[in-house]
Each structure stands twice: as structure tokens, then as C-alpha cells.
């Protein structure tokens, strides 16, 4: 392991050292502002480095990590998203009557986990990254525990998340064990179709299914979705945002790599299970969200559905000749990150750790009270619904194309039906935004207080539109990146 080997690890190292730095800073002198600045600069540096390294880098670093354009792409994306969440967290936590700094520490560590995951092509690194991520997330979910009137039920959320995700981890671990027992390897690459041993025989296939179930839990796919709404609702909004975006994305990248590299879809069993999961998630997610009144729960259920959409593209990747299905997953993950960050962001801008405004009715008439914020919110919701002019539409377009290319007509039909139902609850929120404002509004526009958050939301909104109208550049980038997986 020479010094040169450390270069590809730079983003990872930067973020980890940011974490160390934060610990030191906390040890020396607590200051919310300074903490945020350190975290932001660390993440920013990591993002920039990742972007700069992207064009050239393609290197397997120890059996555990693969640093290629794909992993770097998502490293950059995750770090950027983490920055957004940091900026959103600042005003949210500012009223918390308790130490705020460790929250950012946890956040950064979680990001380390995420980076490890997106660049992992080995079971060990998968587990390593996953657990780093989850552990820190437990903390973030439970963070406002001490505050006098803690917003929702962080404790309940944390306990549920901890127990259930531990269960799912054990699923994954046991699955890995079985695969290992069968094949004697823990690296994805040595499980592919021309490997000496096949996964199909005896207990290895069980192992694969166990592994998939575990992953499905982390991605909150039906039938492992039940924890999602409760944990989303209970956690502080920025934590929810993190869970919903970076948590999901990192896991999905691992899933994608695993499926693509090992060509697990060769096995009928896996194929069927995936199809089943996709259909169940799309239907269950959308139907459950239908008449919800809690914004967080709606977004939770809708995330279930969106993950289901993505699985369709994953399935498509097996039949497809071109890489479009992989590009579809990549693009849609990015799109989903932008839009759900935006949606949660709007909610967290008006909320704070004391009082979260979570009911759809809280936002009644926002369009006339704070047009800009409402416009952003509307944009995010419409994008989630897949309406043109937004990035969400291009994402949907990718998914549809992937499905058509692989002739997955049934799944496409389910996708259409699901999105149809989805329209209803997204528009329901939009409709509330449009209603005449109530005489005593729940919250006043917070534009002046936290310009930072407004700014970052604006940037997200502009990205949403730009990539919705002219995504050509991004498309070509993703095309090149996707070739590496």
C-alpha cells in the first residue's frame, strides 16, 4: 500500500478528517457556526476533489473499494447533498436548547459511510459502509431527544429504526455468509457468470435472497417498507432528508453494482423476487400515501413507490443491450435526490426542532403568503409527480425508456397506474398551497431569518428546471459514467 494508493481515497480521507477536525473543535470550544463552517468546507473540498478526479480515475483499491468514475460521481453527489442538509439543519437546530455540534459530527461520519458504500464492490466494505451510515443515522434520528418539547417522537423513531435495521443487517450478514460458504469469495466481481462456482445451487441462492431482503429493507421496498413512515415522521426533518436521500442512494448504488456485476438476475428466482418487490412497492407506496395528512408520511410512502420505479430499471438492465437502464437508475437517483431534498427542505425551512409543520393543512395558502417558497415546493412536488419542465419528468422518461427497451410491459403498466395514483396526492398538496390563506397562518414566512436555506432551495429549484429543460450535458456525463459499472 503505497502513498500513491491514497490519492484515489482523497475524498474519503477529506471527509473522515473533517470528522476528526470536528471532534477536536468540539473538544476545544463549542460553536454552532464554526462547526457548520468546518463541516461545509470539508464536504465542499471533498466534492470538488471528487469532481476533479472523475475524468481520469478508475482503480480497484484493495479488494474492498473500487474508485471509478461511477463511484466518484456518487461521492460528489452525496457530499453535495450532505452540504445541502447541513445548510438546512443550521436554522432548524438553532433553537435547540442542547448541544448542536455532535449532530454535524454524526452527519459527516454518516457521509463517510455513504462514500464507502458507493465505492464498494465487496461484501466487507458494503457492511462497513452501511453500518457506519446507519449508526450515525440512529444518532441523528434521536438527536433532539433532550430538548424540552422535542418535535415529534425521535425516541420512538430511533428505537424502531435501530431494531429493525439491525434485523435487516443480520439478514444481509447471514446471506453473505451463505454465499461465502457456497462460493468462497466476498468480492462481487468473482461471482459473475463466468466464475467457477454458481450462486444458483443449494443454499447460496437463499443467501442471495437474504441479502436482497436486507437491502430491500434499507431501500424501504415492500414488503420491508413498514418502518419508513414512522421513522420519517419521528426524526427531525434534516435527518429525515438525509435518510431519504443519501441513505437510499448509497444503498441503491451498492444494490446496482451487486446486481450488475454478479448478474444475479440470471437466476429466475431473483428475477421474480425483484419483479414482485417492484410491483408491491409501487402499488403499496402510492396507495398508502393517498389520503395521508402528514407531509413526512406522504413523502415516506412516495419514496417507497419511487424505489419501486427504480427497481424496474434495475430489472430492465438485465435484458437491455445498451446501458440506458443503468443511466436511467443513475439519473433518477440524482433527480430523486434533488426533488426530495427540495421537498424536505421547504418543510424544514419553516419548521424548527421545537415545532415541525408537518400537516398538509399547515401549508394552506402558502402560495399567497410566501410565493417563492411555495413555487419551489410546487416545483418539487410536480417533479416528484413527473411533470415536464422538471427533472422528474426526464427521470420518468428514462425509466419508461428502459422499460420499453426491455419490453417489461406489465411493469410499465404498473408504473403508469402507480404514477396515476401518485398524481393525486402530490396535487392534493399543491391544491392546499393554492387555497386562500387562513386568517391566522401557522407560521410566518422565514425568508429573512435563514437566507442560507432559502438560497440553497433556490439553487435546487433552478437545477430542477435546468435539468428538466436542457439535461443534454448531464445525460452525456451519465452515459460515460455508467459505462464503468
Amino acid at each position: 500500500m503505497t502513498l500513491a494508493d491514497l490519492v484515489p481515497l482523497l475524498p474519503l480521507l477529506i471527509v473522515s478528517s473533517t470528522a476528526v477536525l470536528l471532534m477536536l473543535q468540539i473538544g476545544i470550544r463549542r460553536s454552532h457556526k464554526v462547526t457548520v463552517v468546518i463541516a461545509l468546507s470539508g464536504l465542499l473540498l471533498a466534492t470538488v476533489v471528487a469532481v476533479l478526479m472523475m475524468p481520469t480515475m478508475n482503480q480497484q483499491l484493495t479488494p474492498l473499494l473500487i474508485i471509478d468514475q461511477y463511484s466518484l460521481f456518487f461521492t460528489a453527489v452525496c457530499c453535495a447533498a450532505a452540504m445541502v442538509i447541513v445548510i438546512l439543519s443550521y436554522p432548524y437546530l438553532s433553537r435547540l436548547d442542547d448541544d448542536k455540534d455532535e449532530y454535524y459530527l454524526l452527519l459527516v461520519i454518516a457521509t463517510v459511510g455513504a462514500i464507502v458504500m458507493v465505492s464498494s464492490n465487496h461484501f466487507v466494505s458494503t457492511i462497513l459502509g452501511l453500518e457506519t451510515l446507519s449508526m450515525s443515522l440512529y444518532g441523528m434520528v434521536a438527536y433532539p431527544l433532550h430538548s424540552k418539547e422535542s418535535a415529534k417522537y425521535p425516541l420512538e423513531a430511533a428505537v424502531k429504526y435501530l431494531v429493525l435495521s439491525a434485523v435487516s443487517s443480520s439478514f444481509m450478514l447471514f446471506g453473505m455468509a451463505l454465499i461465502y460458504a457456497q462460493t468462497g469469495t466476498l468480492a462481487f466481481s468473482s461471482l459473475d457468470s463466468d466464475a467457477a462456482v454458481s450462486l444458483s445451487d443449494s443454499y447460496a441462492i437463499v443467501g442471495v435472497l437474504l441479502l436482497i431482503s436486507g437491502m430491500a429493507f434499507k431501500l424501504s421496498l415492500a414488503p420491508f417498507h413498514m418502518w419508513t413512515p414512522d421513522v420519517y415522521e419521528g426524526s427531525p426533518l434534516p435527518a429525515t432528508a438525509y435518510l431519504a436521500t443519501i441513505g437510499k442512494t448509497a444503498m441503491f448504488v451498492v444494490l446496482l453494482r451487486f446486481v450488475i456485476v454478479t448478474e444475479a438476475l440470471r437466476y429466475e428466482a431473483v428475477m421474480i423476487v425483484f419483479s414482485l418487490i417492484a410491483v408491491l412497492s409501487i402499488l403499496a407506496g402510492n396507495v398508502l400515501a393517498l389520503l395521508q395528512n402528514s407531509l413526512k408520511r406522504i413523502l415516506a410512502y412516495s419514496s417507497i413507490a419511487h424505489m419501486g420505479y427504480l427497481i424496474i430499471a434495475v430489472i430492465a438492465s438485465y435484458f437491455a443491450t445498451s446501458t440506458i437502464s443503468i443511466e436511467a437508475v443513475t439519473f433518477y437517483l440524482l433527480a430523486y435526490m434533488i426533488m426530495s431534498l427540495g421537498a424536505f427542505g421547504v418543510a424544514s425551512v419553516v419548521s424548527s426542532s421545537e415545532k415541525e409543520f408537518d400537516l398538509v393543512s399547515d401549508y394552506q395558502g402558502l402560495f399567497w403568503r410566501d410565493p417563492w417558497l411555495a413555487l419551489i415546493f410546487t416545483g418539487m412536488l410536480l417533479s416528484l409527480a413527473g411533470i415536464p419542465l422538471t427533472i422528474g419528468f426526464i427521470g420518468k422518461f428514462y425509466l419508461f425508456f428502459a422499460g420499453v427497451e426491455s419490453a417489461l410491459w406489465v411493469l410499465l403498466l404498473v408504473l403508469v397506474v402507480g404514477s396515476g395514483i401518485g398524481l393525486f396526492y402530490y396535487l392534493r398538496i399543491v391544491y392546499h398551497l393554492l387555497l386562500p390563506a387562513p386568517t391566522r397562518p401557522q407560521f410566518s414566512s422565514a425568508a429573512n431569518e435563514n437566507l442560507g436555506a432559502y438560497g440553497v432551495l433556490t439553487i435546487l429549484f433552478l437545477l430542477l428546471l435546468l435539468l428538466g429543460v436542457y439535461p443534454a450535458r448531464l445525460m452525456t456525463l451519465i452515459e460515460t459514467v455508467a459505462a464503468f459499472i
Binding site: 415536464p388 443534454a472 452525456t476
Partner: protein, 499 residues
């Protein structure tokens, strides 16, 4: 470039109108009007440019999303130009009808109005199927806002229904488009969504039928045709007047345009095989909706159902697919655009005056508002297909053409003329004839048509008479375009028949 200008002006005008509200609440309507008039003038420069070989008057084609071979391809031939003119004209009328009716949040209202129209213009000029779909969807959201914000008592339900119907069927069309594009990829080895590339795709008849159905459902939902029509009555009865005008006058026509431009030319064989069913549906919706219309008590619902009934003639004409029938369909689109819009505006101005749409409360208005009654009489007469007015030309030609390709369905459809007379005269009887009584409503504001209203009703009356007495000026405009479409499909069909 001029086409981009046309669309851009509306998008910009919309934004301007919205912002200008901060300065003065009267400014937006002026800006909207200005933008539309400017568009209309620009369009007039397109007239007379139709080159004889049926090619395109103006075209613009630049790369947009190379990954999928998607290009930003706008073009207009006679047919498009005619519909563009209709759009701009009705847009102006709509602004006129909203002039005093829309008081709160006028800025955002005109923003939505202009963006809807911009989307429609895009639909009428897009020659890249992705772009077409893009605009197809773009026009929905602002329309949703118009209904959901400025609508009447049951607006949420109506707006949601409108959106779900059009959006879900739109997704089916997206799947169809993508499938077609993918087959193009298989056949020619590169991605393209360009109209002319996709015209060359040939697939197995079964596949072609399925793809065609994808388009058909989307278009007939917009048109609309039984059994996909049931969003229309709710949308219309709840929408503000200007919304109804745009909806009935322009949005419905996008469905018909889609059928003429895409559904049939792209899938000539499938359409040929499907024509009997399509025409049967047309006849069904003509008769069925005429009957349901007669039963309505809500004036706007009634007019909405009559719209569905009239659109049946369009579908009939399109699937007869010969020049007379097509010209008939186009004329019906134009004439119905005017007459239905006018009827909705009358209904709107009545509601604006007496705050009810329930015909059971009305009666004997002729004595109170003779001018309005005369205008209403004129447009109901037009709606029931009185010769000398536009609607007659359209329906007569459509039936005449259809008769040559499908006799029984045409005969059935012709009975629609009887039903039309039944409901049209019933409306006149119920509202304007009979004894006047104001027991059911407060008629303190029941005044006759103002100058402004007279002006735009007069314009529409002139339009209908023009269409009825000298339709040639419109027929000539579309002739080459339609003949081109016909010729194209003919040779495609013949080649397939040979194979």
C-alpha cells in the same frame, strides 16, 4: 424562428403579467392582451406562404437531447397555421371574457392562461414526438391551476379529474411514443423521435395496433370521446369562463390535431383496420352525449356534453380519412371552437349576473336581455348545424366524406342532427322563452350585454358566418397539408399491402 418567437412571447408575457401584478392589478390583463395580439399579427405573416408541394411553411430543427436523438423541431403547415390562428383568436377572446370577471390574483391567472396557450401552440407546431409530448403535458398544469384556483363550488374535484384523465392517458401515449422510437432504433440503428424518421418505421401489425391505441386513447381523452369523456362536464362546469373558452375552443382541438397529424399517418394500416371501431365510437358519442346533454339542468354541463357530441363528428371525419371528411373535421374544429366558446361565455356572463347555472331557475330572459337572447339564439342555431354557419359546413362535409367509407355509422351519426336540434332549442326555450320570474335568483345585476361583450360576440358571429358562407378561404389553407397527409398514408398502405 418565428414559431419559437410565437411560443416565447407567450411564455415571457406570462411571466411579465405575473410580475406586473405587483405594480398594478390592472396591468396583467393588458400585457396578456398585448402578447396575444402580437402573436396573432406574427401568425398573419405566415399566411399565404403555403408552398404547393405540401411542404412546410416555416421550420426550425436544432439538437436538443442527442443521447436519444431528440431535436427541438418546430414546423407549421397550413393545418397548423389555421389552428395557431384559432388559438390566438380565442386567446384574445378569453382575455376579453376574463377582463372583469377575474379580480383576485389576476397576475397569476394571466400567467397560467398564456402558458396554457403557449403549450397549445407548441403542440400544434412540434414535429419531434418528444417535444410534442413535452408541450402536450406543459399545457395541463396551468389549466389545472386555472380550474383549481378560479373555479366554482366543486373546483378541486373537477381540476383533479381533468388532470388525472389527461395525465394518465398521456403516460400511455408516452409509452407508445417510446416503443415507436425503440422500433425505429432497431430498424435503423439510431435513436430518433423525429416525426419524419418515425413515419418510416414499419412494425408488425399487432405491435402497430397497440402503439396506435396508445396514441388513440390519449387523443380521444382530450377530444373527448365516449367513454373517456366524463372529465369534461365537470371541468367545464367548474372552470372560470376564460378557462372554459380555452378548454372547449383550443385544448379539445389538440386531441383532434393529434389524430390527424400523428395517430393516423404514423399507423396507417392499424388505423385502417381500427377505423370501423373508431367511427362506431364517434357515432356513439354523438348520440349518447346529445341525449345526456338534453337531460342536464346545469347550463355549463349541458354545453359540455354538446361539445363531446360535436367532437364525435371530428372523429368520424378523421377516420373516414378522405379529403372531404378531413376538411369537414377541420372545419368542425374551427366552427365548434367559436360556437362552443361563445356558448360558454354566455353561460359565464349569465352566471356572472345571476350567480346560478341552474336552468330550472331561469326563463323568459328575452324580455329582460333581448340582445343577449338574440346572441344566444344565434349560437344555439349554429350549434344545431344551421346551413350558412360554420358548424354546418364542418358537420356536413364530415358526414359526406364519412358516408363514402362507412355507411351505417354515418347514417347513425346523421341522426345526431335531430338530437342537436332537440337540446339546442330546449336551451332557448328554458332560458330565454317562457314567462320571466326572478323568484329563484337576485336579478339586480341582470343587465344586457355590454359593449365589450357585444364586441367579442360580434367578432365570433362574423367568424361563424364567414366560415358558413365562404369556407373556401379556410379550405384552401389546409388543402395542401391534408392532401400531403393523405398521399403519404396512401403509399404506406399500398406498400404494406404489397408485402
Amino acid at each position: 424562428m418565428i414559431l419559437v418567437a410565437l411560443i416565447g412571447i407567450l411564455f415571457l408575457g406570462g411571466v411579465l403579467a405575473w410580475l406586473s401584478e405587483r405594480l398594478d392589478s390592472k396591468l396583467p390583463r393588458v400585457i396578456a392582451l398585448a402578447a396575444l395580439v402580437l402573436d396573432l399579427l406574427l401568425m398573419l405573416t405566415l399566411l399565404g406562404g403555403d408552398s404547393a408541394d405540401g411542404s412546410w411553411i416555416v421550420a426550425l430543427n436544432v439538437q436538443w437531447l442527442p443521447r436519444f436523438g431528440i431535436s427541438f423541431h418546430l414546423a407549421a403547415d397550413g393545418l397548423s397555421v389555421l389552428l395557431l390562428l384559432l388559438t390566438a383568436f380565442l386567446g384574445i377572446i378569453a382575455v376579453g371574457s376574463a377582463w372583469i370577471e377575474i379580480t383576485e390574483r389576476s397576475g397569476f391567472f394571466y400567467f397560467n392562461l398564456l402558458w396554457t396557450l403557449a403549450g397549445v401552440l407548441g403542440v400544434f407546431t412540434a414535429l419531434d414526438l418528444f417535444l410534442f409530448f413535452f408541450f402536450w403535458e406543459v399545457m395541463l398544469i396551468p389549466m389545472y391551476f386555472i380550474i383549481a384556483i378560479w373555479g366554482h363550488e366543486n373546483k378541486n374535484y373537477a381540476a383533479m379529474k381533468f388532470f388525472l384523465f389527461t395525465q394518465v392517458t398521456g403516460m400511455l401515449m408516452l409509452v407508445a411514443i417510446l416503443t415507436l422510437a425503440y422500433f425505429h432504433y432497431i430498424q435503423f440503428g439510431f435513436f430518433s423521435f423525429d416525426y419524419f424518421d418515425l413515419l418510416r418505421v414499419t412494425t408488425s401489425s399487432a405491435v402497430e395496433m397497440w402503439i396506435m391505441l396508445g396514441f388513440f386513447v390519449a387523443f380521444t381523452t382530450k377530444l373527448p370521446i365516449v367513454p373517456f369523456h366524463s372529465w369534461l362536464p365537470d371541468a367545464h362546469s367548474q372552470a372560470p369562463t376564460a378557462g372554459s373558452v380555452i378548454l372547449a375552443g383550443v385544448l379539445l382541438k389538440t386531441g383532434a390535431y393529434g389524430l390527424i397529424r400523428f395517430a393516423v399517418p404514423l399507423f396507417p394500416v392499424a388505423s385502417l383496420n381500427f377505423a370501423p371501431i373508431a367511427m362506431a365510437l364517434a357515432a356513439l358519442s354523438i348520440l349518447y352525449c346529445a341525449k345526456v346533454a338534453f337531460a342536464q339542468t346545469d347550463l355549463k354541463r349541458l354545453i359540455a356534453y354538446t361539445s363531446v357530441s360535436h367532437m364525435g363528428f371530428v372523429l368520424l371525419g378523421v377516420y373516414a380519412w378522405n379529403e372531404i371528411a378531413l376538411q369537414g373535421a377541420v372545419m368542425t374544429m374551427l366552427a365548434h371552437g367559436l360556437s362552443a366558446a361563445a356558448l360558454f361565455m354566455l353561460a359565464g356572463s349569465l352566471q356572472h349576473r345571476i350567480h346560478t347555472r341552474d336552468m330550472r331557475d331561469m326563463g323568459g330572459f328575452w324580455a329582460k336581455v333581448p340582445r343577449m337572447s338574440a346572441v344566444a339564439l344565434f349560437f344555439s342555431i349554429a350549434a344545431l348545424g344551421m346551413p350558412g354557419l360554420g358548424n354546418f359546413i364542418g358537420e356536413f362535409l364530415a358526414l359526406l366524406g364519412a358516408f363514402q367509407s362507412n355507411l351505417p355509422m354515418t347514417v347513425l351519426a346523421t341522426f345526431g342532427l335531430i338530437f342537436a336540434s332537440v337540446y339546442s332549442l330546449w336551451v332557448i326555450q328554458k332560458i330565454f322563452h317562457g314567462e320571466y320570474s326572478n323568484s329563484k335568483f337576485n336579478d339586480s345585476h341582470l343587465s344586457d350585454l355590454s359593449r365589450r361583450e357585444l364586441a367579442y360576440f360580434g367578432a365570433m358571429i362574423l367568424g361563424l358566418v364567414w366560415m358558413g358562407m365562404y369556407p373556401q378561404s379556410f379550405l384552401d389553407l389546409t388543402a395542401t397539408a391534408l392532401q400531403g397527409l393523405l398521399a403519404g398514408t396512401q403509399e404506406l398502405v399500398s406498400t404494406v399491402v404489397q408485402n
